[in-house]
């Protein structure tokens, strides 16, 4: 069981602390409830660009010094942006907790971005987009799937954003976005490691509790159209071997359905005894095939991905993939698959909580979205309580081929080899 303590500071910031003293280090994790789906449709890429800019210096920390000071003190830092949230985390020896908080909190205390920092990071982000999206096999998958799966909500564009938008975002745009979302009330601070609870609370109160609260957060609303007819498209890519991706929209993070779909993914595609491995990889149809259920705040994406072997036709693979899904709808998982999945979830859980970085991410995440850290201690029970009836019911309801998006990636512009 994970032991933790929580508090709400005067400015509304939620604090979570968990003592874990195997190593003399600490993780400071600051999460904001804002991601790419919260962006203006004409200014996409804002959350991710801002994430980059948060490392370019702030009122009391000169440009370029954030990482240098941290590094010089035995620390390291990074951040990531999803559709729904932005997470900043750093590790530092626990004796330097105060220094870590000073560094981290300064950029939230007042708008830290300068024109100079913006110009460099704008270029870095465009190079990042080229490296991970444009110049990378299947790099367009997120873009191509998002715009077909979602038509109205901010889930319809990719996290990194549109290159033209990124090029045109002004300092003022960024400041407005920062002012709307980088508020203590929209933030969770999680500290995990070799800490003393009282000392950590006092330091957090000094460094983060003094951050001013801006206007109250607007209520989040969500609406999205239903997919009425299957969308199937061919996408040409700079690849040699084809791939097929099928995707269904499933319920949001934290719902019982969400956990059930996770269990189905493990049951059907984890390990070499799995049905997906036996029917697709072991039969030499594909090099790799797997299922995943990517959880998001308002919806999740259940996908089935297959990377084809040379000479294999998409139609052959598509048939096997469909058989697996229809079998799931009809029969659910086998007793063996359920037992295997619950055991795998258990092993992964213990590995996850062994590592402070992982533990802090999970605590922060549960607090941010559900205001409930206890979910980390209940996870296993939730999985154990999913019945095969539930699985069949959810699969039948959500894995409807009329409501899915299927993308066939095919070699377009031939690569010379």
């Amino acid at each position: 069981m994970i032991i933790y303590k929580q508090a709400v500071l005067n400015n509304g910031l939620r604090l979570v602390m968990s003592r874990k003293s195997e190593i003399p280090n600490v993780i400071i994790n600051s999460c904001f409830h804002v991601g790419s789906k919260d962006e203006d449709p004409n200014k996409t890429g804002m959350s991710h660009l801002l994430e980059h800019l948060m490392f370019s210096g702030s009122e009391n920390i000169p440009g370029g010094k954030f990482d240098e000071i941290l590094h010089a003190n035995g620390g390291e830092s990074n951040a990531f942006t999803t559709q729904d949230y932005t997470s900043y985390y750093l590790t530092i020896p626990s004796s330097k907790l105060e220094l870590g908080m000073w560094l981290d909190s300064d950029r939230y205390a007042s708008f830290p971005v300068t024109e100079e920092g913006l110009e460099v990071q704008r270029k870095v982000v465009i190079e990042e987009k080229m490296q991970t999206h444009d110049n990378s096999p299947f790099g367009s998958l997120e873009y191509e799937s998002a715009k077909r799966l979602f038509k109205k909500s901010g889930y319809r564009w990719e996290i990194i954003g549109d290159e033209n938008h990124i090029k045109n975002l002004s300092l003022k745009d960024i400041e407005n976005f920062y002012n709307s979302f980088y508020n203590p009330a929209n933030m969770v601070l999680t500290v995990v490691g070799d800490i003393d609870y009282d000392e950590t609370y006092d330091l957090a109160d000094s460094y983060y509790g003094s951050i001013k609260t801006n206007a109250s957060m607007a209520e989040r609303t969500y609406s999205e159209e239903i997919i009425e007819n299957e969308i199937e498209d061919e996408i040409e890519d700079n690849i040699t071997l084809p791939a097929r991706f099928i995707m269904y929209r499933t319920p949001a993070l934290g719902t019982k359905e969400f956990y059930a779909f996770r269990l189905m993914c493990v049951g059907l595609s984890s390990g070499e005894s799995s049905n997906v491995y036996r029917s697709l990889v072991r039969t030499d149809l594909t090099t790799e095939s797997y299922l995943s259920n990517q959880g998001m705040e308002f919806e999740s994406i259940f996908s089935f991905n297959s990377f084809l072997n040379k000479g294999v036709k998409i139609s052959q693979v598509s048939k096997s993939m469909d058989n697996i899904i229809s079998n799931l709808k009809m029969n659910g998982l086998t007793d063996f698959e359920i037992r295997k999945s619950v055991n795998k979830v258990l092993t992964s859980y213990y590995l996850k909580i062994q590592q402070s970085m992982n533990l802090s991410n999970h605590l922060a995440f549960y607090k941010l979205f559900f205001n409930d850290c206890e979910m980390i201690n209940n996870e296993i029970k939730i999985f154990e309580n999913i019945s095969n009836q539930d699985i069949k019911k959810y699969a039948e309801e959500y894995l409807d081929s009329k409501k899915r998006v299927a993308l066939n990636y095919i070699p377009g512009k031939k690569v010379e080899s």
Binding site: S95, D134, S273
Partner: protein
């Protein structure tokens, strides 16, 4: 109120010790490392066979990929179970199974809930000692690796690295990646795998590490029983590596249509992993290009905005090594980036690094080190590194005090000994039309059409 204008004072960091471990030799001669740690109810069993793709070179016709396929096939059939049964036995316990195939070693790792420790040992010993290498399983695995090699060639960064290694290690046992190459894989037969396992899977080469929550007496009894019948014939393959720096001064260019960036890969000869200077080159690398705030990343990313990231590494293997610089870079500015890299290499060779940089790098290495020892998986990995390269038992415990004694004179001496701008070869994959003009000033251009 706090004063944000001042950096808070810091206290010294706590000490860190490598977890206590015991070494036991089984009657068969196999060496076993045990770390008993019951803080979490999981156990990691890691097995290493001290044979990897280096040893492929010594097969009858140098069939690259033999060591990897031998390792891959261990879980695909034994005297007692077929591939599906083995997979079911692993999966039903909820164990996470991982295998790794390297230049110098083959690794199998199983992690599971503590109650499964004995089951894991039964499974893993059966795989290592009773494998049957079924023909149909071999063909399917070959198909899978060949197809993934085909796909990898769609990636510029893979092509650049492969071109570098192929030329750098030409005619040595490190010429090919552990997965081999398409034509070599096609040649490998069940007979080759059996021969390989008979030659190398012996009590000298098999090492076991168990880390986590387990009953020591029980574990040792099972190990004795399961690993009693192992061949003792040991065998050493010798190759005389000379750092000739094959391809020195050559600019290798490969066309990749519609590439929006250039995959740049530079390098020359490096250092063996068990060379005493390895700790110094690691330190030097940290300053030069091994971390986010290192000189080369700061220059190309944070100052010039030309890349998402750039890094340098000393890739040290058992018998040889290389030093490399890699980045995905703006195509129009590739020549400029190479010049900046050369400037950084020359600067760190010609000038002492500042006292501040020395201090900062020491603090960074010390402060970050404990994170590398946090999980049972990480600890078992470190034990295998210690074993593979023959380090003293206190290697990881004395590491930080050695780092803290490094002087700036030593860093300069290391830079002069191990960084050689004049020996670099340059690989760039992307739009050749734009690259040739920018790169020809660095050396003779050689166009690569096909890679192996």
């Amino acid at each position: 109120m706090i004063d944000r204008t001042k950096i808070p004072a810091v206290k010294p960091s706590g000490d860190i010790h490598f977890p206590e471990f015991t070494i036991t030799n089984l009657l068969s001669g196999i060496k076993v490392y045990l770390v008993n740690d019951n803080r979490y109810p999981v156990t990691t069993v890691r097995i290493m066979i001290k044979a990897g793709s280096y040893n492929d070179y010594f097969t009858d016709e140098y069939k690259a990929g033999t060591a990897t396929l031998t390792g891959e096939l261990l879980s695909k059939g034994t005297k007692h179970s077929n591939a599906l049964q083995i997979a079911e036995n692993i999966d039903v316990t909820g164990s996470l199974f991982a295998s790794g195939f390297g230049y110098d070693g083959t690794f199998l790792t199983l992690t599971s809930y503590k109650d499964n420790s004995i089951t894991l040992l039964n499974l893993i010993s059966d795989m290592i000692l009773n494998s049957t290498f079924p023909d149909d399983e071999l063909n399917s695995k070959k198909e899978q690796i060949i197809n993934s090699l085909i796909s990898m060639q769609d990636e510029g960064s893979y092509l650049a690295e492969r071109i570098f290694k192929y030329n750098h290690y030409k005619d040595t046992p490190y010429q090919y990646d552990p997965d081999g190459y398409i034509e070599s894989l096609k040649q490998i037969t069940v007979k080759d795998l059996k021969k390989f396992s008979e030659k190398y899977y012996n009590s000298e080469n098999i090492i076991i590490a168990i880390v986590g929550d387990f009953d020591e007496g029980n574990i040792l009894r099972t190990l004795e029983q399961k690993f009693s019948n192992v061949s003792k014939d040991s065998h050493v393959d010798y190759f005389d590596f000379k750092d000739t720096d094959n391809g020195k001064g050559v600019v290798y260019l490969k066309e990749k249509k519609d590439a929006s960036q250039t995959s740049l890969f530079l390098g020359h000869s490096g250092i063996k992993r068990n060379n005493d200077d390895y700790i110094y080159v690691t330190f030097l690398n940290n300053l030069l290009g091994g971390s986010f705030v290192s000189r080369i990343n700061k220059n190309l990313r944070e100052k010039n905005g030309l890349t998402y990231g750039a890094r340098t590494s000393f890739n040290a293997k058992m018998h040889s090594g290389d030093f490399t610089i890699e980045t995905e870079i703006n195509t129009e500015k590739t020549g400029f980036a190479i010049e900046e890299i050369l400037k950084e290499l020359n600067d760190i060779r010609e000038n002492f690094v500042s006292d501040e940089e020395m201090e900062n790098t020491k603090n960074y290495i010390s402060g970050n080190y404990p994170l590398q020892l946090e999980t049972s998986n990480a600890v078992s990995g470190k034990l295998m590194t210690m074993e593979l390269y023959g380090f003293e038992k206190d290697y990881f415990d004395t590491y930080l005090s050695k780092v803290n004694n490094i002087t700036k004179e030593k860093v300069k001496e290391t830079a002069l000994n191990y960084l050689h701008p004049d020996k670099l070869k340059f690989v760039a994959v992307g739009d050749i039309n734009k690259l040739e003009k920018q790169c020809r000033k660095f050396g003779n251009v050689e166009i690569i059409n096909k890679i192996k």
